[in-house]
Symmetry: C2
Subunit: 168 residues, 2 copies
């Protein structure tokens, strides 16, 4: 993308660019989750990550559906935000000696990922509606609800169990 030309000229261009950004992010998350599943030793957190891996596959398919509905090519643009969030997750987890502390950190890192997705899907839904694409908005809204539910579930696991074990 453009150091010399400005490629985003309309709201529709911005919508498509941001769809491609979150498409990259979802695919990046698909690659990161198996390692997080391997690292966690808490069975509830592990199974939460496993369900979210399946949901993430669905999120990728839904984005492909939105690209088709909107008549544009399903392709990615590099998303430095998710790269940074995942790099940080990997750095912190590589730096932790204790497995209970590691589980607490992994849950927090996963919540940082969820929050990035929540903000991007929220924006995309608002833009789709404004562009008269309620059909796209409604597909994106299903994913947003799942991201919010995943975040709430992580809060519950962390506060009811992981943080207590990690601090003891």
């Amino acid at each position: 993308m453009g150091f010399f030309t400005k490629d985003i000229k309309t709201m529709d261009d911005l919508f498509v660019h941001t769809l491609r950004d979150i498409y990259y992010a979802e695919k990046r998350i698909l690659k990161a989750l198996p390692e997080m599943i391997d690292k966690t030793t808490d069975p509830t957190l592990k199974s939460g990550f496993q369900s979210h891996l399946k949901e993430t596959e669905q999120h990728v398919s839904r984005l492909e559906e939105v690209f088709r509905m909107h008549g544009v090519e399903a392709k990615t643009v590099t998303c430095p935000a998710i790269d940074g969030i995942i790099e940080e997750a990997e750095e912190i987890s590589g730096d932790i000696a204790d497995k209970e502390v590691l589980d607490a950190a992994l849950a927090a890192s996963a919540q940082a990922v969820e929050h990035y997705e929540i903000t991007r899907y929220g924006t995309l839904i608002a833009w789709a509606k404004r562009l008269g694409r309620n059909d796209c908005a409604s597909v994106l809204a299903r994913t947003l609800e799942e991201e919010k539910a995943a975040d709430a579930k992580l809060t519950k696991i962390a506060e009811s169990k992981l943080n207590m074990r990690a601090a003891s």
Copy 2:
């Protein structure tokens, strides 16, 4: 931090590490906001960013207060997540030709920043309480409320005004 040693051994170490991560993030945001203020042409968004710049200065001071309360040195650790989020904001805004579309993108980028802060402060508050530091939790909670309010304000400006102008 540790490629060869694992420096985070306890929940307290993880809490301090994450405080230093968000301390870096707040300082990075302090540097990024003036450029966002310059770029926006919408007066409501510009004044929103200006108020948030003042709040961010307070958030830095509050973190220094928490470091003092907890008896540890106020220092930063590099936070690849905020670096990535801000890099993405700068890339996208450099790629937009139309000023109304740029305002919509700037608001969305600022919301991505807010969401990163919301998740980190949420985690820090839960960890502070678990470590018996309700005093630190209550200082951090004041900042969390301001980050949530800033995000809600951005949603309101975007949906009531910016997105409509950008799509027209």
